[in-house]
Symmetry: C2
């Protein structure tokens, strides 16, 4: 009997699990939000992931349930577990990816380096935090943010008034997260895989470049990263995976500061944009590793295959003809660049694919990957 | 509109086109012989590939028709072409893979190095050939052979009597192919990709090891292969691809002789077992390259990613529990070996999967790949 993995969510992360699942001989079943999504080839089910009956019915036919995103409600997750379904990552871990206030409090308990932060429930509390941190801070809604949404840099408490007003109307009440504005030199990401029986594997720390709050480029391993930095990032990743009980892939987004520290910015408990380079640049891709980890199979070697790998996102894409209309020119000009598309209609700023390049010379492959990605933009 | 490739045949070669199709954003549709075959994830159609109406109906929904095997009858292929369907490789090329007598005659016209050969229609002609070639020869049925079937080494014409008898009963009549018994030191394989508009790319020549007529192991690039040998093999591959008008992947199986020549043994016009190493060892896998070539898209870089790659077939497999029962032990012991399974029930000698290993040290990766593959055997 083939092992069967069920993935809730039909986006590109589920789609990119299909290739390693086919090669390993793991059957993959996707519960997609609607028809025609990125993971449509494996989407035998379409339904609402917030509906307990829908998700339970989906879970009956698979050996383990995992996720394309972190939005499945705790109540649904806990019902699955109570019904004996293997869920990875489980609700106890996922709550820290779903609520940034919980995450900050737990990382503090674990002694992880992170920005100063506070839970604030009104403008006065926020102003106090601003006054204590040089007059500038980052305000975040604890839930539902992604790709820069739900994040705002403020210089005055009045700039978060609409969010406080929304909180007051929310039946659940609650608070906002405020964090010190970190003077960072660059952003890094540390990926770690962990399986239920405890085995952990750390990928090399990478540098990520964001534009308008969206990941634009990744350099792997992070250039100019000495042994001290690499070890510190791996230790943080492993400590968080173990401390939060994460199973599957964990991505820890990090700030490298002007005073040479690394601080935890965000967490993601799933394959992550910062790890797309592993498809062509690592012995074991993050998508294969996630499948192994959630099935509690031994983890694969996360080592790079070549000295450098670069990932450049394709954001937007041509208004006419789809990405396919650019295949001929991009492939002819860049025969060694690897193209990955998500089967999504191009729309300004939307992630519709990415390219990877690997090699011995970082400058060469950065040029190659950027030029190839640019050929897909209008 | 996504590009759509239709693959006739539901075996492991079709299966292994799924992963690169998903990543590139090419829709792949498989016409399988029956339900539950290796390529079942993409097998929206099930039917008889010798039936013209079945194959025509399948071809209507795709941009190009290509193949998992070379057994689609010429009449079906020519009807597709007459109906305006893009077929790659086309019938004019495929006939040379379908009939070894046609192949030998055409290679002779092209001046390709090959064993002495003859078309023989009775035992007397075969005995004459034997007498002229040291008393030993290889007799082949021109059609339908694979994995060593339809091939026999004979020391006397009487050893082919049953085949001559079968020929006499066959309404089409015909002859057997007889070839000199080549004293070879090893077998090599040269893969080439060619697209309709003429672009050609050669992979590095590899060494293949056969056991009981079935490919067991592949070393890439071929060890102890100097520039002269590599260039000669690539030139032969390209000359055959161009001379026979092959589109898609071509594999040329070669003998390296004791007197330092290379001779063409067999041809395959599709992805081939000798190229499975490219999935993890080359910038562009043979499966991605085949998709690009049959869609007439620019070809990818066939360069190796690392100095050495080794492929070891999994032949047979455990009698109980399927390959999955061995995942834990094989993955734990060999975290850097890449496993590829075909979703086929294990049966003695059957190709049910393979493993690839890549790295700087050939001995290390050979050990690793063999040990991993052995864990899947009973």
């Amino acid at each position: 009997m083939a092992l069967r993995v069920g993935v809730v969510g039909g986006g590109q992360l589920a789609r990119m699990m299909i290739a390693p699942a086919v090669e390993l001989g793991i059957e993959i079943e996707v519960l997609a939000e609607e028809r025609g999504m990125a993971a449509r080839l494996a989407a035998g089910s379409v339904g609402d992931y917030t509906d307990i009956a829908t998700v339970l019915a989906f879970a009956r036919d698979v050996d383990v349930v995992t996720f394309d995103h972190e939005h499945v409600p705790q109540q649904v997750l806990r019902t699955l577990v109570a019904e004996g379904v293997a869920v990875h990552p489980g609700p106890d871990a996922l709550q820290f990816a779903q609520d940034k206030l919980l995450m900050r409090a737990r990382l503090e308990e674990l002694g992880m380096p992170q920005p100063d932060w506070a839970s604030v429930s009104d403008a006065e509390q926020l102003q106090d935090f601003l006054d204590a941190h040089g007059g500038r801070a980052v305000v975040k809604t604890p839930r539902g943010g992604y790709d820069g949404k739900g994040v705002r840099v403020v210089d005055a408490a009045t700039e978060a008034e609409d969010w406080f007003a929304a909180l007051a109307e929310d039946a659940r009440g609650g608070s906002l997260l405020v964090e010190e504005f970190v003077p960072f030199t660059r952003e890094l990401a540390q990926q770690v895989a962990r399986r239920a029986s405890g085995e952990v594997r750390a990928y090399p720390v990478v540098e990520t470049v964001q534009r308008d709050g969206v990941c634009a480029e990744v350099f792997a391993p992070a250039p100019r990263a000495g042994e001290r930095l690499r070890d510190a990032a791996a230790r943080i990743g492993i400590a968080i995976a173990e401390g939060l009980g994460v199973t599957g892939m964990l991505a820890v987004e990090l700030f490298e500061t002007t005073d040479d520290r690394i601080l935890v910015n965000e967490l993601a408990m799933r394959p992550h944009n910062s790890g797309h380079w592993t498809q062509d640049g690592a012995v074991t891709s993050q998508f294969e590793q996630h499948l192994r980890a959630v099935l509690d199979l031994p983890l694969g070697d996360p080592s790079p295959r070549q000295p450098w790998a670069v990932m450049v996102n394709i954001l937007g894409g041509p208004a006419q003809g789809g990405l396919e209309s650019r295949f001929a020119s991009a492939m002819a000009a860049h025969p060694s660049v690897k193209l990955h598309t998500y089967g999504k209609a191009p729309r300004p700023g939307r992630k519709v694919g990415h390219v990877n390049a690997t090699g011995d010379d970082l400058e060469d492959i950065v040029y190659d990957a950027r030029a190839a990605a640019a050929l897909f933009a209008d």
